[in-house]
Subunit: 195 residues, 2 copies
Amino acid sequence: MRGPETRTEIIGAADRLFYERGFEHTSFADIAEAVTIARGNFYYHFKSKDEILSAVIARRVAHTTALLERWARDNPTPRGRLSAFVGMLEVNGDAIMRYGCPVGTLTIELSKLLHGSRDQVVGLFDLFRDWLAEQFRALGRDADAQALALHLLMRSQGVATLYTAYRDRDFVIREMAMMESWIDEVAGTQPAATI
Amino acid sequence: MRGPETRTEIIGAADRLFYERGFEHTSFADIAEAVTIARGNFYYHFKSKDEILSAVIARRVAHTTALLERWARDNPTPRGRLSAFVGMLEVNGDAIMRYGCPVGTLTIELSKLLHGSRDQVVGLFDLFRDWLAEQFRALGRDADAQALALHLLMRSQGVATLYTAYRDRDFVIREMAMMESWIDEVAGTQPAATI
DNA sequence: GTCTATACGAAGATAGAC
DNA sequence: GTCTATCTTCGTATAGAC
């Protein structure tokens, strides 16, 4: 009777577990336990594990889109929006420290597995990249908006990985401040020296 | 009769496969096939898969140490040594594009698995970090050598991850040039603005 | 829609012959 | 030291009752 809700619960639990334990290391038994349903009942909702992954990615696309819209709504200026992006490293700090970036780590795992859904996950990076580029364009950097967006995305990935490795919060705070300085430089009247 | 050699071959094959496919997704059968020995013969050399992992990490520590020594030998100046580090992104470009950074990706995987050897792998980061800090100190940045080292390490991780995601060589070339500019800024007489 | 029971294969690990 | 054979556990997936 609660079919659609069970499906949604499965996707939610799978999303969390794929992030925390990795896609391969998450079994149906793990997900079933999290949702408290029988293992066999799974296949009424999904034909295979890959199908769950597709649903998880779709869910992440929806959530990311909503997140970017919220950031845009809460921050009227492009400069403030870029800070919202940088602030994510602190807001999600605990999770990143333990499990890394949800997008980066899944991309790497699926790349190594030669998994067909890899490109779909990279699409999540696209969402951030395009949104960031939009902000840089609004700051008058039309020519290199895309490159600037990738640079900021690159930094957030690097910080996330080293945060997971070293679990050093001071490092993250320091790097976030450097990212803000860099954005200020880019947003300034004269073009920045380093880019 | 070739016992020690077989052991070395196993470690070498495991090293490569752990990198390319991930630790969890590499089976004994995979390694056995690569070395062309029987699956069962494994346990004469190693008691468990974790023991192979330990041996692989030890091998990587030795190789990394040798690499850093070679870089120091081939490049007399600290500035040149830092470029050698940056150049790694291009030298190992194809592998990074497909499998990411060997250190970063294994750190993330073992972190998610809550694996006991995680800290040993982070020790590989330490080797690079300390070596880089040494170069920054030689450039007169005694006070923040460690932070500068972590910053460069962070950038290389970020570039590696986005290279695996987007497979865009131009992005890597561009980011490498930015890293060089940043190093020049740091190495210059006046302290850099962004750090 | 959800359950139990079960088939099937893969993977880690062991025993014992050569 | 290396082999074959085998045990056991786990994970994906299916069948069929309720």
